[in-house]
Amino acid sequence: MRVADLSIKNYRGVREGHLRFKSHVVLVGGNNTGKTTVIEALTLLLGRDRLIRDLTEHDFFGSDPQPADRMHLVATITDFDGDDPNAHPDWFRDGRAVPKWWDETTGVVNPAQTDASWRLCCQIGVQAYFDRPSLTVEVVRYFHDHDGAIDPFDDDSPVGVPPKLIQQFGFFLVRASRTWDRVLSWGSELFRRTLQAAAAQPAGAILAQRDQLRTPERAIEDDAQIAPLINSVNDEVARCIAGSPKLTLRVTNTDSRSVLEAVSPHYTVGDGMSVPAARQGNGLISLQGLFLLLELGRLRAEAGEGFTMALEEPELHLPPATQQQLVLRVQALTSQTFITTHSPTIAAMADPTSVLLLRNVEGKLTAEPFLAQKLVPAAANWQRKFYQHNRTEVIDALMHTAVLVPEGRSDHLLLKTVLRPLMLRQGWSGEHAHSFGLEVGVVPTEDAKVVETARDLLRVHPRVCCLVDGDDEGQRYVRELAGLAQPPSVVIRWPDGQMIEDAIGWILDADAVSVTNLRNDIPALVAADVAGVVAHMKTKKCDLVLYEAVAEAISENEACRVRASELFQTLTNACTGVASDRFAVVDQVWVFQP
């Protein structure tokens, strides 16, 4: 079984939203777009009661819910073996769900199967309202029959989802705020459930420990230091009560439950002393916890039970190689995973059609797959490079407020290379180059496909900007971009006859001395002035050694640094639609003014 789609109304930061899911979903998006909201919504719908946190007003959109402001979540569950409702009477019968049919191509749920490709599905809903008189949130989880006007809080009680089915579905959640140090002990439900599933309760060892605690080799009350005290207490009591019991001191309550509760995980490295988990580094512990969870998944899969895992930010505490290994293991063992991440590395590991880019515009949540459909064998070269080879960089760029699509790969490289040392050197005030790095993500455009790339990215990102040269080609791109059904937010152009190398020249011009540093690094530029450097750069596109040297020269010189910062700052402004002296809007195109 898997979740095919999810609709959210009035939950946390989401006023309205609809998402469709494949098997192994990776949710990507800026802070506060609603990644955690999606995971928590799934938990309300499918999680066991223990996973569900108590709801308050803050769980409603706007935090001040009126009686009619219902929180309303609906998930569609599909992938029932054989697609025959009669083969799944636990799910489909009077008193349980009504069978419906999921159309994967359109994402529509149909009441009857009129197309053989539609899959059997059912819908689970959660509604909640804030009960003002009692200051509590009333929640109901039910089988959602249709989107009509029937209110689950009305007379006819809705058909609840029995815990047995929730258990069968097997939804497990690992939150970003995890406290793993108790995970490998009986205080953790995960640990107990895994033991139960594996029938691995170590009863013999626990009973042996218990017996040892009951009759210790060296009892505390017999210690020479304390014995006189204990004996005199015993004597006094004996004078008052006939046949009085004797005081002994035992570790724990000496029953098996106390022994289980007292167990605390330790780690031993080499022959050293074992150290309790709470004193270990977080990485080791979270890895142990996660693999315990996976062991439970393996046991459930063997027993033919469902295992769906929601994992927030697997990159936490783990080195990149381990992240990758972990994500692959999770995906192999589960019927469906939901992973939220801020790491482009993790996002890039997933199938590009399963990476969902979340966007939240004033409470309206949308989720578009990074790639709408799998690339066909005939896909163009630039598409392969963009979506497969370079996808870590592309996803990274898409996580920014604005995405800049430059005309070519050299612009991408040069901007990034010049920016890096500037960000390292920036002081506490005055220099604003860093805002470019925070707000604008530059994608590596392949084969000058600025128009095609912009059109593709506009589907998944609300603010796509383009940067073109000041030549005839550039003018043509400007016209083509303006002719798109959905044109980019901003088109930026270098001045007539110029390109990015000329802008670099303008930066170096701030103090011609800066060029002297370059002369030492690049033999070809021994006698070159600024114009010579620009001319050389134009012939050596994408020469990383040259770019590094130029970036170094700029960051070493204060006047150049100021100009570079100004360029990046005003470029940021242009991308976000803010006017500045350096960019003049000519025919709706932002043209650089050196």
Partner: protein
């Protein structure tokens, strides 16, 4: 019930499965419930519900299919439309199989009262479910159901159960009278059954007072085929007057149809045009029907908590009262105790300790219909039945002779 026990032994319901027992509205549900509880091997694995609320459930759960089929979704008070839509839904095998997965066995009594679309529901269910259906064609009072469609269908089935003997009583005079009416033979008085000629309401009322006094508090249902001047006069006389032997008065209440009851309550409600919830509740409290006030109060409370509903118009309140009254009558058991008066139709499928039948000069329908009416009235009694006729010559005519 014997057959049900055999069926359960032959094919025991799986975990989570139950027997679906359908009845018509009014009291029958509780009696069926008691009888099912006594079936060996069944335990509590049965669900006893009225046919109409079963239909409402099917429509509510399969609403999106209703919409796709192009039908209108009926409102909760449109009972006949709901039944018709449920019948259309159950024409789909997948819906029947969905029911069967929970309820492999269907039990239905009084099948003669099935209207066309209610019969459709039962017939669709019977295609997959093991159906145990009992009927007595003679107990059908609805002249439009003749010939009786359910009876015609059941006769074609291999193993139908025909109930031709009343089971409610062991009093032989009552059994003989019922058998005689059914066979179109003259009825005879006996211990527990008598027919008397009382031309005037005053005379019948006096007779009734003496009769009620003799029963020493045992319950009495006054049943009549037609609530007109004779029956109304007798009930009014008994309710207000003392007879020559000093018996009475005995206040008897006519049972009202649900729509009448709701209208009567609305007539007494004083409500501003745009009343708030609390004003509406206050107006209800003034009317004084505690059961109704409780229902309305919980409805208003829920509205206030879950919707932004602050204005209650007269129309909204009236509609809700209709709904509450209809539900009380349809889904709950009426009180079959004390002194009450009702029509033969209103008494259908119920039982009373004692029955007094008021037979006026004019009763609509042919001789067959009159026999059915009288048969139905007589068979409501468990201990005794007294018939008061308005015309002497009626004693020599059908349904009495």
């Amino acid at each position: 019930m014997q057959r049900l026990a055999e069926t359960i032994v032959a094919a025991p319901p799986r975990e989570g499965q139950k027997v679906l027992a359908l009845t018509f509205m009014h009291g029958a549900r509780r009696r069926l419930d008691e009888r099912l509880a006594a079936v060996p091997g069944l335990g509590r694995r049965y669900e006893c519900t009225t046919l109409d609320s079963f239909a409402a459930r099917i429509v509510r759960r399969w609403q999106s299919l209703v919409v796709q089929m192009g039908a209108r979704v009926p409102t909760e008070t449109e009972y006949d439309e709901t039944v018709a839509v449920a019948a259309t839904l159950l024409a789909n095998p997948e819906v029947v199989l969905w029911v069967k997965a929970s309820f492999p066995i269907l039990v239905l009594d009084e099948a003669q009262d099935l209207t066309r679309s209610r019969l459709d529901i039962v017939q669709s269910l019977a295609t997959e479910l093991t159906a145990l259906i009992a009927a007595d064609e003679f107990q059908c009072l609805d002249a439009t159901l003749r010939p009786n469609p359910a009876w015609e269908w059941l006769k074609e089935q291999e193993d139908h159960i025909a109930l031709e003997k009343p089971m409610r009583t062991t009093v032989s005079a009552l059994l003989e009278a019922a058998t005689a009416v059914r066979a179109a033979e003259p009825v005879h008085a006996g211990k527990g059954f008598s027919v008397n000629f009382t031309p005037k309401p005053a005379m019948a009322g006096g007779f009734l007072n003496t009769y009620i006094a003799g029963l020493r508090g045992s319950s009495v249902a006054v049943i009549t085929p037609s609530i007109k001047s004779f029956a109304e006069g007798v009930v009014a006389w008994t309710s207000q007057r003392t007879n020559s032997r000093g018996r009475g008065p005995y206040p008897i209440v006519w049972e009202q149809a649900e729509t009448k009851r709701a209208e009567a309550v609305m007539d007494r409600i004083v409500l501003p045009a745009d009343a708030t919830c609390s004003q509406a509740l206050a107006a209800m409290v003034d009317v004084g029907d505690r059961a109704l006030v409780r229902e309305v109060a919980s409805w208003l409370d829920r509205l206030g908590r879950t919707r932004n509903k602050s204005i209650i118009t007269r129309e909204v309140l009236a509609e809700r009262l209709q709904f509450i009254c209809a539900n009380q009558r349809r889904f709950q058991r009426p009180i079959d105790r004390g002194l009450m008066a009702m029509s033969v139709h209103g008494a259908k499928n119920r039982e009373f300790e004692n029955v007094v039948i008021l037979w006026p000069a004019a009763v609509a329908g042919d001789d067959d219909q009159k026999r059915r009416l009288l048969y139905n009235a007589i068979t409501r009694a468990k201990s005794a039945c007294l018939v008061l006729v308005q015309l002497q010559k009626q004693l020599g005519q059908p349904p009495f002779a």
